[in-house]
Protein backbone atom coordinates (compact mmCIF):
# COMPACT_ATOMS: atom_id res chain seq x y z
CA UNK A 1 0.00 0.00 0.00
CA UNK A 2 1.48 3.36 -0.93
CA UNK A 3 2.42 5.76 1.79
CA UNK A 4 -0.28 8.25 0.88
CA UNK A 5 -3.03 5.73 1.70
CA UNK A 6 -1.75 5.53 5.26
CA UNK A 7 -1.85 9.32 5.30
CA UNK A 8 -5.54 9.34 4.33
CA UNK A 9 -6.34 6.94 7.19
CA UNK A 10 -4.40 9.21 9.55
CA UNK A 11 -6.38 12.16 8.25
CA UNK A 12 -9.65 10.37 9.04
CA UNK A 13 -8.53 9.61 12.60
CA UNK A 14 -7.35 13.19 13.15
CA UNK A 15 -10.66 14.51 11.85
CA UNK A 16 -12.52 12.22 14.24
CA UNK A 17 -10.42 13.44 17.16
CA UNK A 18 -11.04 17.05 16.17
CA UNK A 19 -14.78 16.40 16.00
CA UNK A 20 -14.64 14.77 19.45
CA UNK A 21 -12.90 17.81 20.88
CA UNK A 22 -15.37 20.13 19.17
CA UNK A 23 -18.35 18.36 20.71
CA UNK A 24 -17.09 17.59 24.21
CA UNK A 25 -14.92 20.51 25.28
CA UNK A 26 -16.35 23.50 27.10
CA UNK A 27 -13.68 26.16 26.74
CA UNK A 28 -14.40 28.20 23.63
CA UNK A 29 -10.73 28.54 22.68
CA UNK A 30 -10.22 24.76 22.85
CA UNK A 31 -13.26 24.31 20.62
CA UNK A 32 -11.69 26.69 18.13
CA UNK A 33 -8.47 24.70 18.23
CA UNK A 34 -10.42 21.51 17.51
CA UNK A 35 -11.77 23.24 14.40
CA UNK A 36 -8.19 24.02 13.36
CA UNK A 37 -7.31 20.35 13.94
CA UNK A 38 -10.11 19.29 11.62
CA UNK A 39 -8.86 21.74 8.97
CA UNK A 40 -5.38 20.29 9.27
CA UNK A 41 -6.73 16.76 8.85
CA UNK A 42 -8.46 17.82 5.64
CA UNK A 43 -5.25 19.45 4.41
CA UNK A 44 -3.43 16.18 4.97
CA UNK A 45 -6.01 14.28 2.94
CA UNK A 46 -5.71 16.85 0.12
CA UNK A 47 -1.94 16.40 -0.02
CA UNK A 48 -2.24 12.61 0.17
CA UNK A 49 -4.69 12.48 -2.73
CA UNK A 50 -2.59 14.90 -4.70
CA UNK A 51 0.27 12.43 -4.27
CA UNK A 52 -1.87 9.43 -5.18
CA UNK A 53 -3.37 10.96 -8.31
CA UNK A 54 -0.23 12.90 -9.30
CA UNK A 55 -2.29 16.07 -9.69
CA UNK A 56 -0.91 19.24 -8.20
CA UNK A 57 -4.34 20.86 -7.76
CA UNK A 58 -4.64 19.25 -4.34
CA UNK A 59 -1.69 21.23 -3.06
CA UNK A 60 -3.07 24.43 -4.61
CA UNK A 61 -6.26 23.91 -2.64
CA UNK A 62 -4.30 23.43 0.58
CA UNK A 63 -2.98 26.98 0.08
CA UNK A 64 -6.49 28.31 -0.02
CA UNK A 65 -7.54 26.28 3.01
CA UNK A 66 -4.60 27.69 5.00
CA UNK A 67 -5.48 31.24 3.95
CA UNK A 68 -9.14 30.84 4.88
CA UNK A 69 -8.17 29.25 8.20
CA UNK A 70 -5.95 32.26 8.96
CA UNK A 71 -8.72 34.74 8.16
CA UNK A 72 -11.21 32.73 10.20
CA UNK A 73 -8.81 32.53 13.15
CA UNK A 74 -8.34 36.31 13.15
CA UNK A 75 -12.05 37.09 13.09
CA UNK A 76 -12.85 34.29 15.55
CA UNK A 77 -10.29 35.58 18.02
CA UNK A 78 -11.83 39.07 17.83
CA UNK A 79 -15.26 37.60 18.54
CA UNK A 80 -13.91 35.53 21.45
CA UNK A 81 -12.30 38.67 22.85
CA UNK A 82 -15.61 40.55 22.84
CA UNK A 83 -17.49 37.57 24.27
CA UNK A 84 -14.94 37.18 27.07
CA UNK A 85 -15.17 40.89 27.85
CA UNK A 86 -18.95 40.86 28.05
CA UNK A 87 -19.64 37.52 29.74
CA UNK A 88 -16.43 37.40 31.81
CA UNK A 89 -16.16 33.69 31.15
CA UNK A 90 -14.80 31.39 28.45
CA UNK A 91 -17.17 28.56 29.30
CA UNK A 92 -19.69 27.99 26.52
CA UNK A 93 -22.31 26.99 29.06
CA UNK A 94 -22.25 30.59 30.28
CA UNK A 95 -22.65 32.02 26.77
CA UNK A 96 -26.21 30.93 26.09
CA UNK A 97 -28.14 34.18 25.73
CA UNK A 98 -30.00 32.83 22.73
CA UNK A 99 -31.30 29.85 24.73
CA UNK A 100 -34.90 29.83 25.93
Amino acid sequence: MPLASYAVVLSAILFGLGALGFVFKRNIITIFMSIELMLNAVNLSFVAFSRLRLLLEGQVFVFFVIVVAAAEAAVGMAIILQVARNRHSLNIERIDLLKQ
Binding site: G16, L17, I29, L37, A70, A73, A74, M77, A78
Partner: protein, 165 residues
Protein backbone atom coordinates in the same frame (compact mmCIF):
# COMPACT_ATOMS: atom_id res chain seq x y z
CA UNK B 1 10.06 -1.47 5.89
CA UNK B 2 11.74 1.46 4.22
CA UNK B 3 12.99 4.49 6.08
CA UNK B 4 10.09 6.49 4.69
CA UNK B 5 7.51 4.16 6.23
CA UNK B 6 9.22 4.14 9.62
CA UNK B 7 9.49 7.93 9.54
CA UNK B 8 5.86 8.22 8.56
CA UNK B 9 4.73 6.06 11.48
CA UNK B 10 6.85 8.04 13.93
CA UNK B 11 5.36 11.33 12.68
CA UNK B 12 1.86 9.84 12.63
CA UNK B 13 2.29 8.69 16.25
CA UNK B 14 3.39 12.21 17.18
CA UNK B 15 0.39 13.73 15.40
CA UNK B 16 -2.05 11.32 17.04
CA UNK B 17 -0.48 11.84 20.45
CA UNK B 18 -0.72 15.60 20.06
CA UNK B 19 -4.35 15.40 18.92
CA UNK B 20 -5.32 13.09 21.80
CA UNK B 21 -3.53 15.39 24.23
CA UNK B 22 -5.42 18.35 22.83
CA UNK B 23 -8.77 16.89 23.82
CA UNK B 24 -7.60 15.40 27.10
CA UNK B 25 -5.93 18.46 28.62
CA UNK B 26 -8.00 20.89 30.66
CA UNK B 27 -5.91 24.06 30.37
CA UNK B 28 -6.16 25.64 26.89
CA UNK B 29 -2.47 26.52 26.77
CA UNK B 30 -1.56 22.82 26.94
CA UNK B 31 -4.02 22.16 24.13
CA UNK B 32 -2.42 24.94 22.07
CA UNK B 33 1.06 23.49 22.51
CA UNK B 34 -0.24 20.03 21.58
CA UNK B 35 -1.76 21.50 18.44
CA UNK B 36 1.63 22.97 17.53
CA UNK B 37 3.11 19.47 17.87
CA UNK B 38 0.41 18.14 15.53
CA UNK B 39 1.14 20.85 12.96
CA UNK B 40 4.88 20.25 12.97
CA UNK B 41 4.32 16.49 12.61
CA UNK B 42 1.96 17.15 9.70
CA UNK B 43 4.58 19.36 8.06
CA UNK B 44 7.01 16.43 8.27
CA UNK B 45 4.40 14.17 6.65
CA UNK B 46 3.91 16.72 3.86
CA UNK B 47 7.65 16.53 3.23
CA UNK B 48 7.38 12.74 3.01
CA UNK B 49 4.53 13.06 0.53
CA UNK B 50 6.58 15.35 -1.69
CA UNK B 51 4.94 18.71 -0.89
CA UNK B 52 7.97 20.79 0.10
CA UNK B 53 6.47 24.25 -0.36
CA UNK B 54 3.40 23.24 1.63
CA UNK B 55 5.51 21.93 4.49
CA UNK B 56 7.33 25.27 4.66
CA UNK B 57 4.07 27.24 4.43
CA UNK B 58 2.53 25.08 7.15
CA UNK B 59 5.40 25.80 9.54
CA UNK B 60 5.65 29.49 8.74
CA UNK B 61 1.96 30.40 8.52
CA UNK B 62 0.03 27.81 10.49
CA UNK B 63 2.40 26.93 13.32
CA UNK B 64 4.26 30.23 13.24
CA UNK B 65 1.47 32.78 12.94
CA UNK B 66 -1.95 31.29 13.63
CA UNK B 67 -0.89 29.27 16.66
CA UNK B 68 1.06 32.24 17.99
CA UNK B 69 -2.18 34.23 17.70
CA UNK B 70 -3.95 31.53 19.70
CA UNK B 71 -1.30 31.58 22.42
CA UNK B 72 -1.45 35.41 22.57
CA UNK B 73 -5.21 35.32 23.03
CA UNK B 74 -5.02 32.62 25.72
CA UNK B 75 -2.48 34.66 27.64
CA UNK B 76 -4.31 37.94 27.06
CA UNK B 77 -7.61 36.56 28.34
CA UNK B 78 -5.83 34.75 31.17
CA UNK B 79 -7.76 31.60 30.40
CA UNK B 80 -7.77 29.14 33.24
CA UNK B 81 -8.52 25.46 33.54
CA UNK B 82 -11.92 24.22 32.50
CA UNK B 83 -14.38 23.72 35.33
CA UNK B 84 -15.86 20.33 36.07
CA UNK B 85 -19.39 20.21 34.76
CA UNK B 86 -21.28 17.14 33.80
CA UNK B 87 -21.65 16.13 30.18
CA UNK B 88 -25.12 14.98 29.26
CA UNK B 89 -25.70 11.24 29.56
CA UNK B 90 -26.89 10.94 25.95
CA UNK B 91 -23.67 12.48 24.70
CA UNK B 92 -21.40 9.98 26.41
CA UNK B 93 -23.41 6.80 25.91
CA UNK B 94 -24.58 7.46 22.36
CA UNK B 95 -22.15 9.99 20.99
CA UNK B 96 -18.79 8.54 21.97
CA UNK B 97 -19.37 4.99 20.61
CA UNK B 98 -20.90 6.47 17.47
CA UNK B 99 -17.88 8.69 16.91
CA UNK B 100 -15.51 5.76 17.41
CA UNK B 101 -17.53 3.53 15.06
CA UNK B 102 -17.69 6.31 12.46
CA UNK B 103 -13.93 6.84 12.53
CA UNK B 104 -13.29 3.10 12.40
CA UNK B 105 -15.60 2.56 9.41
CA UNK B 106 -14.09 5.55 7.62
CA UNK B 107 -10.57 4.35 8.22
CA UNK B 108 -11.38 0.79 7.23
CA UNK B 109 -13.07 1.79 3.99
CA UNK B 110 -10.20 4.06 3.06
CA UNK B 111 -7.65 1.39 3.86
CA UNK B 112 -9.48 -1.23 1.78
CA UNK B 113 -10.14 1.03 -1.20
CA UNK B 114 -8.31 0.47 -4.47
CA UNK B 115 -6.46 3.58 -5.60
CA UNK B 116 -8.11 5.30 -8.53
CA UNK B 117 -6.55 5.79 -11.95
CA UNK B 118 -3.33 7.73 -11.79
CA UNK B 119 -2.89 10.76 -13.98
CA UNK B 120 -0.23 10.11 -16.61
CA UNK B 121 3.22 11.44 -16.00
CA UNK B 122 4.88 9.07 -13.59
CA UNK B 123 6.83 11.00 -11.03
CA UNK B 124 5.64 14.29 -9.55
CA UNK B 125 7.59 17.13 -11.17
CA UNK B 126 9.55 19.55 -9.03
CA UNK B 127 6.70 20.95 -7.01
CA UNK B 128 7.51 24.51 -6.06
CA UNK B 129 7.94 25.82 -9.60
CA UNK B 130 4.95 23.95 -11.02
CA UNK B 131 2.83 24.82 -7.99
CA UNK B 132 3.51 28.53 -8.34
CA UNK B 133 2.89 28.35 -12.08
CA UNK B 134 -0.49 26.77 -11.37
CA UNK B 135 -1.27 29.29 -8.66
CA UNK B 136 -0.53 32.31 -10.83
CA UNK B 137 -2.01 31.15 -14.12
CA UNK B 138 -4.96 28.77 -13.74
CA UNK B 139 -5.90 29.75 -10.18
CA UNK B 140 -5.09 33.43 -10.17
CA UNK B 141 -8.72 34.44 -9.63
CA UNK B 142 -9.16 32.49 -6.37
CA UNK B 143 -5.72 33.75 -5.36
CA UNK B 144 -6.79 37.38 -5.70
CA UNK B 145 -10.08 36.59 -4.01
CA UNK B 146 -8.25 35.22 -1.00
CA UNK B 147 -6.23 38.41 -0.70
CA UNK B 148 -9.49 40.38 -0.62
CA UNK B 149 -10.76 37.87 1.95
CA UNK B 150 -7.76 38.56 4.18
CA UNK B 151 -8.34 42.29 3.83
CA UNK B 152 -11.97 41.88 4.88
CA UNK B 153 -10.90 39.68 7.78
CA UNK B 154 -8.42 42.30 9.00
CA UNK B 155 -11.06 45.02 8.86
CA UNK B 156 -13.56 42.78 10.61
CA UNK B 157 -11.14 41.83 13.36
CA UNK B 158 -10.21 45.47 13.99
CA UNK B 159 -13.85 46.54 14.19
CA UNK B 160 -14.94 43.56 16.29
CA UNK B 161 -12.22 43.92 18.90
CA UNK B 162 -12.86 47.58 19.67
CA UNK B 163 -13.36 48.34 23.33
CA UNK B 164 -16.11 50.93 22.96
CA UNK B 165 -18.65 49.70 20.50
Amino acid sequence: MSVETILFFVLAAAALGGAANLIVQTHPIHSALSLIVVMVALAGIYLLLGAELLAAVQIIVYAGAIMVLFVFIIMLLNAGKEERTSISRAATWLGLPFAVVLTAVLGWRIAMAQPGPMAPGGEIPGTTRVLSQLLFTSYVFPFEMTSILILVAILGAVVLAKRDF
